[in-house]
Subunit: 134 residues, 2 copies
Amino acid sequence: MKYTITDLSKKFDLPASTIRYYEKIGLLENVEHINSRRSYDDSHVDRLNAIECFKKALLPLDEIRLFFTYEKDMASNADKILDMMKDQEAKTLDAIDALQAGLTHLKKKIRFYSLVSESVKNNSPLPKWEDVNP
Amino acid sequence: MKYTITDLSKKFDLPASTIRYYEKIGLLENVEHINSRRSYDDSHVDRLNAIECFKKALLPLDEIRLFFTYEKDMASNADKILDMMKDQEAKTLDAIDALQAGLTHLKKKIRFYSLVSESVKNNSPLPKWEDVNP
DNA sequence: ATACAACTTGAAGTTAACTTTAACTCAAGT
DNA sequence: ACTTGAGTTAAAGTTAACTTCAAGTTGTAT
């Protein structure tokens, strides 16, 4: 199956400029140019799927590219890939922990300012932070 | 209690340049300058604590600053603050979801490349992705 | 034939959140 | 008095991941 850049743009909800950028930095390879237009196939769809997954794990684009070069000779590079993935797993877990702490903080603020808002509507005394979040 | 910039730098594990930067962009206010040196007090410690919490929730610095200005008249601004926090709560939850999806992807890669690594050591045939992660 | 939309290129611009640099001041210790 | 180390400033530089721009080309519809 063949795809234009607009096909992929829609499929992955990425601007065409981003897809060209990924090619430029070596994340997308072997892109055919037919009539001076880019033409992609399913290998590129797979690549973009993988890229999106890695991006969700916060892997930087140059690490993603490194992964793809390792992957070409995965027998020799399995251990390097494993290190990379385990490293990133730890970072991703840390990021989740930080987000969860942040979320807890937000929830406290939401609880407190809900009461503040209520008090204002009722002309009643404002709550104190320590009373709401002891 | 009074603190030098180095005290805060150590306490929050932030470079002094970052603390100066936060003052410059209005996140830290009313910093005394004694003998042309910055001198902080507990209100600044509280501020930095709050900033760190919001940063964990991915709130951008200019939103954090906006929060602090709203907070000065919290009775009038409770609803604005609530909107802001609820908005950010949704974004933070989305970010957690994305990270968890990313984590799942990493774990699959780790499973697969562990087997690849084993196979290489045993001179046995390499696994297939579909067999490992069906 | 002509207009138009979609695509092309390389280069420059954008954004957030810092970081670095250069040149300077100041107080304390030897 | 002199050195050292911590702090000061404004301005410029950095990084990642794009995005925008200007100028040109191509295929299709009228």
